[in-house]
Amino acid sequence: MNRREKEQYLREYAVLKAKGKPFFPYVIAKDGAMVMIVIGIILTMSYLLGGTIAAKADPTSTTVVPRPEWYYYFVFELLRVVKPAAITPLATVGIPTVCLILLLLLPFYDRGPERHPLRRPIATTAGVLTILVTGYLTWMGAEAGAPTEIAMPPSANVVNKEDPETVELYLKGREELPSLGCLACHQIGENGNHGPGPKLTDIADRLPEAGIAQTLRNPTAPMPSYQSLEPEKFKAVVTYLGHLTKENEENPVEGGGE
């Protein structure tokens, strides 16, 4: 804004202000109503949900799955998706620092006199995009399942239609698989990581059971071989993986998973 624009703004604002209404009681009453709503929300949530605490902090634990408070999910997801190691500093230092500086200095690089959101297309687009990206990251962070369990329910197609022996192996495989570390590199449903390995949610559509067993015995690096796994466990896992099809995923048993 140049000097003339600044003076014009101050003049116009002075007129608007002179014609306005007093802060007390008109604005205070409106603020008060909003504060009532806010305090009401806080009290309702405290009454319904209260202040809960989890198990006591245990630095020796190796089974805990740390997750932050939900309003930090976007940071959590950012830290999760930015890999490999070479670009990790981007997520921990780079992006947050740049965002903070851009935010702090906003009035110093966006100096145009226009204030209407529809007549500031670049600023408004950038703002909406920031909100969408943060929202998307928050949602992804909330969805991210731990690599220590499978939340995807067993399929009704298998449980109701296959013979009891297969069903038993299928369910056993579903229990066993997370303990084998597969989800460190593969994804099943919402659990596990995107890569280095392919997604396994519908692996049986692409690979028959025999092929899955073959891959588990003689994988391509860096996947480890599961050759030495007990035969019964191996069979259970192969049976479970062999029934992971898109169709089965879309037909979960009633009541879902655990």
Partner: protein, 223 residues
């Protein structure tokens, strides 16, 4: 209208200096201005410096090297990890403990130079991405982090995900017939030893200069 030609006068009132009083000279004014700044500065410093020093003390206080026995040599195998809980911070109770995965050195896969401190390999359970607890999964022989997708192989080297360096290790030695665990150290991607760093601090190439070691605890000299 003051006469500007009088500005050489030593009197502040002649120069229109705010708050000047009758007979005050510029030198006197300057001296008192300096004195005001100096006394205020010293007063602030006298309060702030000890307080800041107090708060920063732990950054520089040298820590003692701790060794803790974790078992007899025959309890450990070269092919599988066994977990042990040790104390890393004295006087902090449960908070000062951590879990370590231990195995015997296996010359077939451990290629870093052998010395008295690596007859047993002790791997820390802190993920080198941001410090979440990693877990060793025997079936896949991988260390898996539940947070952001870090995966490490049997040696603790990064297999996937965002971690910037292999898992930290602990010094080990055999003393009086027992395996003892000592201080933690960090390793770069060639498993070369470095003084212990925090997670997310890269130690390859430029990293070791960008993330200086802390003055409080360093690796054992000569290792």
């Amino acid at each position: 209208m003051p006469d500007t030609s009088k500005n050489t006068s030593p009197y502040t009132a002649d120069r229109n200096i705010p708050g000047a009083f009758e007979g005050e000279t510029v030198t006197r004014r300057r001296f008192m201005t300096g004195a005001a700044h100096a006394t205020n500065g010293i007063a602030v410093g006298m309060i702030a410096l000890p307080a800041i020093g107090f708060a920063l003390g732990p950054n520089f206080k040298k820590l003692e090297e701790r060794w803790e026995a974790v078992g007899r040599p025959d309890e450990f195998s070269p092919t599988e990890y066994i977990s042990r809980t040790i104390t890393v911070v004295a006087g902090a109770g449960e908070t000062g403990k951590t879990t370590v995965y231990l195995r015997e050195r296996n010359p077939d896969i451990d290629h870093e130079p052998e010395d008295e401190y690596n007859q047993y390999i002790a791997i820390s359970t802190r993920c080198m991405h941001l410090g979440c607890p990693v877990r060793y999964v025997p079936a896949s022989q991988r260390f898996i982090c539940p947070c952001h997708g870090g995966v490490y192989d049997f040696l603790g080297e990064v297999q996937g995900g965002p971690p910037v360096r292999p898992l930290d290790r602990f010094y080990t030695r055999v003393k009086d017939g027992l395996v003892e665990l000592g201080p933690r150290f960090s390793v770069n991607s060639e498993l070369k030893r470095f003084s212990p760093r925090d997670p997310a601090q890269d130690l390859d190439a430029l990293g070791q200069y960008l993330f200086p070691s802390r003055p409080t605890i360093r690796k054992i000299p000569g290792t």
